[in-house]
């Protein structure tokens, strides 16, 4: 998100996902949507049937890569080099959008100087991608009438995640592939309503509507709406920083809602130590998760059909979700629980319904001002922000006339390739990358409770290339021990050409995987490097 704010001025998906069907070229990097956002495949396949060229860059030959016309099998953590290499070819062959560069963006000279260093041969050595394929991809993307970039956690979950995102924006901007139908930058979010949570200020540095806590005017405006003189002006802690602070004894109590850090956060051993050190832990969830088991108090929340309110999709569309059934037994909608706790703490949280909350959002967040309960309940597919007035149709495509930066121009920011925090060595010779499988969702709190899904993906596995398997003497479905400097985890070996030699893959839906990965964070975005760690594999438990 920070990468798009720096370059485009807004950290959100620029075009709706169905608009991909109108693209003439789709460049997918670090996203395996065929497994993780299967619905997105619908429109990519539609585009392909109409002649769109599909480029997929991924270390693994995933079901998403099956769709590709050009598949760039890069080494994990080399995305910046790959994109800079594409920019090199585009500038050298003068395929960039000259008018767009002149009128809508700044920083072209710096990018030109940067890209000069990333010729196809140099990039080939870093990424492992053959020079001719890289050039082919660059030409397809730059020459298409309209081209879109789709990315996901394969871009963001690196110590250079911010730089990866900036690189995607740089490529988009020099080709003028933004602000029109079939173009844009489409980051796919990891969970339902993450976009909405961020929009509402569920981040450490901002208030609702991305008002920075440092912005005095914005802050006091919101304070006034809430009947206060001012609000705290210091940034809070991010998730991983909170865990560290708990481990150091600086944070004494924690209230965790709908999150399972014992499975989803890096270095599980450290998370466990941190949570154990707390004086008081409250967990609100629909199941007794691995994290809830550690809590002093567990508050049973409601699942999505048991509560009402809006959800904001990854494409900024705000939709109303009606309640279908009542929560079971003592479980309650999260809104009701939060209101009760707030009242006990002495705050006036008297919301009778989600409608009332949305009315407050209409006042506090300018881009949601026109998304009233009446309108959003009526409109199938919802309304897309910015929607500043009650008669505004919404804005499915961002940056058509101007960017959201102060200068109203797109900013190119040169970024250099930077190797991952931990790379394989003699002791830990394999590169471990993590991700998701189609049968499970996030920490598996819900999907590991479904007989249908477990039948198809019952347990933790590690994908190993046949060449590595032969070297290690392991056979299919054998239990192996995967170890890193932090932990060791038992998994079943899946021997497959989906991963190249030297790289192994594990899905993080099962406990044990995030115990292995490094905690190193991206400096700006504070996202951990889930995608690269050094490991070794041995036979047996």
């Amino acid at each position: 998100m920070t990468g798009l704010v720096a370059t485009l001025g807004s950290g959100a998906m620029t075009n709706p996902i169905p608009d991909l069907a109108n693209s003439k070229c789709i460049f997918i990097i670090g996203s395996n949507f065929a497994e993780n956002h299967p619905i997105a495949a619908r429109w990519v396949l539609d585009a392909k049937e109409q002649g769109s060229k599909i480029i997929v860059a991924d270390p693994r030959y995933t079901p998403t890569a099956w769709i590709a016309d050009v598949f760039l099998q890069l080494k994990p953590g080399t995305d910046i080099a790959l994109i800079n290499g594409m920019i090199h070819t585009i500038i050298k062959e003068k395929l960039y959008d000259k008018n767009f560069v002149k009128e809508r963006i700044i920083g072209f000279d710096q990018i030109k100087a940067l890209a000069a260093k990333y010729d196809a041969n140099t990039v080939g050595k870093i990424t492992g991608v053959s020079p001719h394929l890289l050039q082919e991809a660059a030409r397809l993307y730059a020459k298409a009438q309209s081209a879109a970039i789709v990315y996901c956690m394969g871009i963001t979950q690196h110590t250079c995640g911010h730089g990866n995102v900036v690189s995607c924006a740089n490529l988009t901007l020099i080709c003028g592939n933004i602000g029109r139908v079939g173009t844009g930058v489409l980051p796919l979010r990891g969970q339902d309503n993450v976009q909405g949570a961020c929009d509402m200020g569920g981040l450490s540095t901002v208030l609702p509507g991305y008002t920075s806590v440092n912005d005095e005017t914005g802050r006091t405006r919101i304070a006034a709406l809430w009947g206060k003189e001012d609000l705290p002006n210091k940034p809070g802690l991010t998730v991983v920083e909170m865990t560290n602070a708990a481990a150091e004894g600086k944070v004494k109590a924690m209230y965790i809602m709908g999150e399972n850090p014992m499975v989803s956060d890096p270095n599980t051993k450290h998370v466990r130590q941190a949570l154990d050190k707390l004086d008081f832990l409250v967990v609100q969830d629909i199941f007794l998760t691995e994290t809830a088991e550690l809590a002093d108090v567990v508050l049973p929340g409601a699942c999505w059909v048991e509560k009402e309110g809006t959800v904001t999709a990854t494409s900024r569309s705000v939709q109303w979700r009606a309640k279908a059934i009542a929560p079971p037994r003592e479980a309650k909608a999260d809104l009701a629980i939060i209101c009760e706790i707030a009242k006990k703490l002495g705050f006036e949280f008297n919301y009778q319904s989600a409608d009332e909350v949305l009315r407050e959002i209409n006042l506090v967040v300018p881009s949601y001002a026109g998304i009233t309960p009446e309108r959003v309940k009526e409109k199938v597919g919802g309304l897309t922000w910015p929607c500043p007035t009650p008669d505004h149709p919404g804005t499915p495509i961002l940056h058509s006339d101007a960017f959201a930066t102060v200068e109203r121009l797109g900013k190119l920011i040169p970024v250099e390739h930077q190797p991952p925090f931990e790379m394989p060595d003699d002791e830990y010779p394999l590169l471990l990358t993590t991700g998701r499988v189609v049968m499970h969702y996030n920490a598996g709190s819900m999907t590991r409770r479904s007989a249908s899904l477990l039948k198809r993906s019952p347990e933790l596995f590690v994908e190993v290339n046949p060449a590595d398997a032969e070297k290690l003497g392991i056979s299919a479905d054998e239990e192996v021990m995967v170890s890193t400097r932090r932990a060791e985890t038992v998994a079943k070996a899946t021997i497959t050409n989906r991963v190249p030699p030297g790289i192994v893959f594990m899905p993080f839906h099962f406990p044990g995987v995030n115990a292995l990965v490094v905690e190193a964070l991206d400096e700006k975005a504070k996202v951990p490097e889930f995608k690269v760690a050094a490991c070794k594999i041995a036979r047996g438990k």
Partner: protein, 167 residues
């Protein structure tokens, strides 16, 4: 005229939503299975509800019948579990229910069709690889798609270039 489930193999992404949806509709038993060949080619396999069904032809008790609107179904009270239908089925999609000792198969979600809903596998396919329609209507759409491809010079064969990293 009867409708059929049609599969566009180029669109299947092996998400197996169809299998899970079928299970949901049929008390935990799926009559759809997607086979993945060579780690690359997913093929959804279910009853084709053949127009000249070998299973109906050989069923000695008349348990297998073909309804007017298309589905080939098993009347379980008449079935004796002899498996003759399974022997003649070219697709291996008949199942023996060991508990109730009768054959089971895809019923085209007849309970959903009666409510004007699509079969569960079709309605849950995110990639729109599965469609349910009149055979002629589907063929017309395939023709139109191919015609467009010919005119725009796209070509009909998707090409895949694989570049393994150089070690």
């Amino acid at each position: 005229m009867s409708k059929v489930i049609f599969m566009d193999l180029n669109r299947c992404i092996y998400c197996r939503s169809c299998e899970v949806a079928c299970e949901r509709e049929h008390n935990g038993r799926s009559f759809m299975s997607v086979l993945l060949l060579d780690e690359r080619h997913p093929v959804p396999m279910n009853c084709r509800h053949c127009k000249k069904s070998p299973c109906v032809a050989v069923c000695p008790t008349g348990a297998l019948t073909r309804l007017e609107n298309g589905p080939v179904i098993i009347e379980t009270m008449k079935c004796v579990g002899c498996s003759l239908c399974a022997m003649v089925c070219p697709f291996g999609v008949l199942e023996l229910d060991y508990l109730s000792k009768v054959m089971r198969k895809c019923d085209l979600c007849i309970h959903r069709l009666n409510e004007n809903k699509l079969p569960a596998c079709v309605s849950s396919c995110p990639a729109r690889a599965l469609t349910y329609d009149e055979f002629d209507a589907i063929m017309q759409r395939v023709k139109e798609k191919a015609a467009k491809a010919i005119i725009s010079g796209v070509g009909l064969e998707p090409g895949i270039v694989v570049s393994p990293p150089e070690s």
